[in-house]
């Protein structure tokens, strides 16, 4: 009886453990190993030490993809935090139709990225897309959206006679189009998370503030914002991790990360190196760089936890 009790827990864990070791842990370790090899699938791998990493640091496209990904994260994360918090606060204030709005906001999140990428690609079409039709209603000239490689800051400031070049020109308009779509897609999830967070705040605080004559704006900044900070913290970390992994939009909406590589994101670059040009060792090195960045950022953001009110 006693020995059976010792073995049986492992039998329960075994199926999950086996699958995890085989299809997660081993590939993760392999990824590390492959990054030291010159590895195209058909040929046998050749050990080249740190060459992949050295090449990566000299690779302009790698740095450009990294820069594009950073622009994406820097804009998408705050934008989606601000909008989803706004939606959640508004939704928390109403009684009628709450469920309907929640459903509407959540719909983009449950639908497939492939289908909505196709729809957004067509919406950004210069001639027949909905975006330019809507702009024409308010008298704005049609935009080139996904085929414009100039930076958005560069475009905005050129009207004022200021020429911003290089990275201060901002993400290209093509990348910015992808940013709009990405924010739209993920907004519903964060809104729901914030709604749950808001519902955990006791009404007592607001009643007290009401008696003290605090305005709604003041209540928001002094009560709501501090008390949802654990949610903000969670949303910040999760949205950052997820945004770093953006792939399908680039694959489906752009011509191989074009124009001029301005929408090439790091995961798309991994895909391209691994499966288009079959440089699997190099792709693994890039994947590992991505992993280190995500891990580093998560640990760094974890340190912000001390500012969170629980």
């Amino acid at each position: 009886m006693k020995t059976k009790w010792k073995i049986s827990p492992y039998l329960y864990v075994l199926p999950a453990l086996f699958l995890l070791l085989a299809f997660r842990l081993i590939p993760i370790v392999m990824s590390f190993v492959i990054s030291f090899f010159d590895w195209s699938l058909k040929g046998t791998g050749k050990f080249i030490g740190l060459m992949n990493y050295a090449n990566m640091l000299k690779d302009d496209v790698f740095w450009q993809s990294m820069g594009n990904t950073l622009w994406l994260v820097i804009i998408v994360v705050p934008a989606s935090i601000i909008f989803s918090l706004l939606f959640a606060v508004l939704l928390n204030n109403i009684k009628a139709l709450k469920g309907l709005f929640r459903t509407v906001y959540f719909m983009p999140y449950v639908t497939s990225l492939v289908a909505v990428s196709i729809v957004w690609k067509l919406m950004f079409n210069e001639q027949t897309g909905l975006m330019n039709i809507l702009l024409s209603y308010v008298g704005i000239a049609p935009q080139k959206w996904l085929s414009e490689s100039r930076g958005i800051f560069q475009m905005l400031f050129s009207g004022l006679g200021i020429n911003l070049k290089g990275w201060i020109g901002g993400p290209s308009q093509a990348l910015f189009s992808i940013i709009i779509m990405t924010v739209w897609k993920g907004l519903g999830y964060n809104t729901i998370i914030y709604l749950a967070g808001l519902q955990n705040i006791s009404k007592v605080y607001y009643e007290a503030a009401e008696i003290d004559g605090a305005s709604k704006t003041r209540q928001f900044f002094k009560i709501t914002l501090p008390l949802v900070s654990p949610t903000t913290f969670y949303v910040l970390i999760m949205t950052t991790i997820v945004t770093f992994q953006t792939f399908s939009q680039v694959y489906l909406m752009t011509d191989k990360g074009g124009p001029l590589n301005t929408t090439k994101l790091i995961v798309y670059y991994i895909y391209e190196k691994g499966f288009d040009t079959l440089e699997m060792g190099y792709a693994s090195a890039v994947a590992l760089a991505l992993f280190i960045i995500i891990l580093g950022l998560t640990i760094y953001q974890k340190r912000l936890e001390k500012y969170v009110n629980y």
């Binding site: 864990v13 999950a16 995890l20 392999m30 449950v110 492939v114 289908a115 729809v119």
Partner: protein
């Protein structure tokens, strides 16, 4: 009064933002019901309208296609009643060419055309198969592991649990290339098992079950033990029947995840017969880039099953996602 104004403003903002959230879907739906020429000519944006031209000769009207207008003369193709061209490039007086717009007209046949254009039936079959078998796998591995983690004492339990959790943190793109190499080594590329087996374990679901099992009262287990219930019997006869909400939540997460997964099947399969819906749709996107209306029809029917699931169980789904995001 100030309160009424405030509420009105809140509703206005919510409605505008809500429209922004669903306009892409509405546009997708309306475009999917238009003819391609109607879409290209931008004759309508949201409500499909059938527009055609007639040659109005006074005593008689003839259906035509307007090719070109040259001042007072128009170049047209003459159509018969079956919309077949019977006379090409005929010149007629422009004043006699009339535009007739019929509202509304929905071209549901776009759906049939899109469905038959590429083997969507096969893609649907593959997706359903992969989704169901993955779900089955998840529902077998998760409660078993969660049971051990929640209610058994064994050497290395906490270590294993943290190992599981830490692997959940590693994003899919990190091990995509090496998984491809691994599946190649075991000759699994281009097989159903490549799409199913690696996803039969879901750490998050294990976590959900574990939390639930931990919350069940010890008295239940003591009573069952006195009645001579085996260890496995407790899981099968007591815990699982009490876990219906968790099973539902886990199933929803798993089904939505499998249905929408793209990068993995794109990389791991090449044969058209093995394409899942998302991959098939992405190939259709490359092949049919000018057939906007068919592309929209295909996008629509690819999301319909998930939307049906969503509308049927939206309270449960939204609550599950909200709960999953809350810190425990």
């Amino acid at each position: 009064m100030g309160e009424t104004i405030r509420m009105t403003l809140i509703y206005i903002v919510l409605i505008i933002c809500g429209l922004a959230m669903i306009i892409p879907f509405l546009w997708m739906l309306s475009t999917s019901l238009m003819t391609q020429s109607e879409f290209n000519k931008q004759e309508s944006v949201f409500i499909p309208k059938e527009t055609y031209y007639v040659w109005d000769k006074g005593n008689q009207q003839q259906k035509i296609i307007l090719v070109q207008e040259k001042g007072k003369i128009s170049v047209v193709h003459i159509l018969n009643n079956d919309n077949k061209i019977i006379e090409e490039y005929k010149e007629v007086p422009s004043a006699q060419v009339k535009k007739i717009t019929k509202v509304p007209s929905f071209h549901w046949d776009n759906y049939i055309k899109a469905f038959n254009k590429v083997p969507f039936a096969i893609y649907f079959k593959n997706t359903i198969l992969v989704s169901l078998f993955t779900l089955l796998g998840v529902l077998i591995t998760s409660p078993l592991a969660a049971y051990a983690f929640a209610r058994m004492e064994f050497f290395g339990r906490d270590f294993l649990f943290y190992l599981f959790l830490s692997m959940m943190m590693v994003p899919e793109p990190i091990y995509l290339v090496s998984s491809y190499v691994l599946l190649d080594k075991i000759s699994w590329l281009d097989t159903y098992q490549a799409l199913i087996v690696p996803w039969c374990v879901n750490i998050f679901t294990i976590f959900l079950f574990r939390q639930h099992f931990k919350s069940l009262p010890q008295e239940l287990f003591d009573a069952a033990a006195i009645d001579g219930c085996s260890t496995f019997g407790m899981l099968w006869r007591i815990m699982l029947p009490l876990s219906k909400p968790v099973i539902a939540t886990a199933s929803i997460f798993s089904l939505i995840g499998s249905w929408n997964s793209f990068m993995w099947p794109l990389v791991m399969t090449n044969r058209p017969e093995l394409r899942v819906l998302q991959v098939g749709l992405s190939y259709f996107n490359q092949e049919a880039s000018t057939q906007t209306t068919l592309l929209m029809a295909a996008s629509t029917f690819s999301i319909v099953p998930i939307l049906i699931l969503f509308f049927m169980a939206q309270k449960q789904i939204i609550a599950s996602y909200a709960k999953a995001g809350l810190k425990d």
